[in-house]
């Protein structure tokens, strides 16, 4: 467990401090700290529009923060000297709507970045891809196109695509929100497996039950600020802030 003033940064894998993001006059993030130690699984919860997705996207610079600092594994992500494409291989990302490439097979989806971003040979890339598809229990679907897969299978291919690059940390943006209820379990099973293997993860999610059971730490965001930050047992059972209490009552997990 970490407190907000944890230091030195050596102990942290992801160290985002005072992150702000504005779109015109609209301030989506108003100075957010997100500190993640190696092996930790952190959940971001909060109402839609609270800034969870934007915060995650700032952590691999799909969005450029308007202010603050973000360090990943001791590298300043916002420095113009940082090779952002290389850093993005170390910060995996999984999206709510999977975003698989529809013109490529599951195998092609996983191998593309291995070959083009990391420069691996086709054979090497396919070996890695097969291993990672097996890791998400889809070894038999390597030749299938995304359109031939269920939502749960597509999301697991997307996880394999991110894992194949051997990221230090995996960011997941509502990974189960677009899934039919009966398919959620298969994705959560994969997340559980990753947790066991020591993968560091930050997950924006509405799966409160899962967060309560599996997370090391939960951050409640509202209105672009972290309202409450603590271990799930404390945050769910005895929230300190009125806003957290109201949110947890409303979602009735």
């Amino acid at each position: 467990m970490l407190s907000a003033d944890a230091s030195p940064s050596r102990a942290l894998l992801l160290e985002a401090r005072g992150v702000r993001k504005t779109y015109g006059a609209n301030e989506v993030l108003k100075g957010v700290d997100l500190l993640v130690a190696p092996g930790e699984m952190v959940f971001l919860i909060g109402p839609s529009g609270s800034g969870k997705s934007t915060l995650l996207r700032c952590c691999n610079r799909l969005e450029d923060p308007s202010g603050g600092s973000i360090w990943v594994g001791g590298v300043d992500l916002l420095s113009p000297k940082t090779d952002i494409n290389r850093m993005r291989c170390e910060v995996g990302m999984v999206f709510q709507s999977f975003n698989l490439y529809p013109h490529l097979t599951a195998l092609g989806n996983v191998t593309l970045a291995l070959r083009k971003a990391m420069g691996k040979s086709r054979e090497e890339a396919e070996r890695i891809a097969h291993a990672n598809l097996e890791r998400v229990d889809l070894a038999d679907k390597a030749r299938a196109y995304p359109g031939e897969l269920s939502g749960g299978q597509q999301q697991r291919v997307a996880i394999a695509r991110a894992l194949a690059l051997e990221p230090k940390i995996l960011l997941m943006d509502e990974p189960t929100s677009a899934l039919d209820p009966e398919l959620v379990g298969s994705v959560l099973a994969v997340v559980r497996g990753l947790r066991k293997s020591g993968m560091t993860m930050v997950i924006a999610s509405h799966e409160m039950r899962f967060a309560r059971e599996a997370a090391d730490r939960v951050l409640f965001l509202d209105g672009g600020l972290v309202v409450e930050d603590g271990p799930p047992a404390a945050l769910f059972a005895d929230p300190k802030e009125e806003r957290t209490r109201r949110f947890l009552r409303d979602v009735r997990y």
Binding site: R57, N85, C89, F95, S97, N99, Y101, A117
Partner: protein
């Protein structure tokens, strides 16, 4: 002479057909040659312009859009005539077949740029985000993720455009290119008979029907993953 006899004598005169047939077939070679050159050049330039536009450089895009819009607005014959009569007066003399190839390529480039661009913008932003999040560069994302999808979306409107513009090789007859229609109209003038024009029509159908069929096949093949 009955109506049918008059029709046969005007359009199906065997003797005229045999005399001028070889000359029109020579025109076929010219039409197919220029047509293929226009398709290759026009589509390649159109794709290149759409890629250039994707980089989002404001002054470049402003200029690009102006030129494309003008080329789309002008009747093809006007473009052909401007280049044919305009270039010599500034000291550039090029064969009329080259003028035809350049004009039609420019027009096809303009139209196909718009179609490719529409394909690029219709690709969901999630595709960009997913690709960039795995460390692919902007250009790699464009080449390996966005364009394969954009081109598939573009194929049906593109085949129609391509066929429509390639048919304009017939405008070569206005500037003395000996393509199918040029050969046929001169044969028609010499023989005072419409049979050469009928031969020309048959040749056009023979060239373009396979293209139309091929475009259907192409659409079906690329529709597979889009369910």
């Amino acid at each position: 002479m009955s109506g049918l006899d008059r029709f046969v004598a005007t359009f199906l005169d065997l003797e005229v057909g045999l005399r001028y047939g070889p000359q029109i077939l020579e025109g076929l070679v010219t039409t197919v040659g220029i047509g293929l050159a226009v398709v290759a050049t026009g589509l390649a330039c159109g794709l290149a312009l759409a890629v250039l536009r994707a980089f989002g450089m404001r002054p470049v895009n402003f200029l690009l859009i102006q030129i494309v819009d003008i080329l789309r607005a002008l009747p093809p014959l006007v473009v052909v005539l401007i280049i044919y009569f305009g270039l010599p007066s500034v000291g550039v003399v090029i064969p009329s077949a080259v003028v035809l190839w350049l004009s039609l390529s420019a027009i096809l480039a303009a139209f196909s740029e718009e179609v490719f661009w529409a394909g690029i913008t219709s690709t969901p932003t999630g595709q960009w985000m997913a690709a960039r999040s795995t460390g692919l560069s902007f250009l790699q994302t464009l080449c390996y993720v966005i364009l394969p999808q954009a081109v598939r979306v573009a194929i049906p409107p593109l085949t129609n455009r391509t066929i429509a513009i390639t048919k304009n090789t017939a405008l070569g007859s206005a500037i003395g290119v000996n393509e199918i229609l040029g050969q046929a109209t001169s044969a028609e003038a010499f023989s005072a008979n419409a049979t050469p024009l009928l031969i020309a029509s048959v040749l056009y159908v023979l060239i373009f029907i396979p293209l139309v069929i091929a475009s259907h096949a192409l659409e079906r093949r690329h529709a597979v993953w889009r369910r």
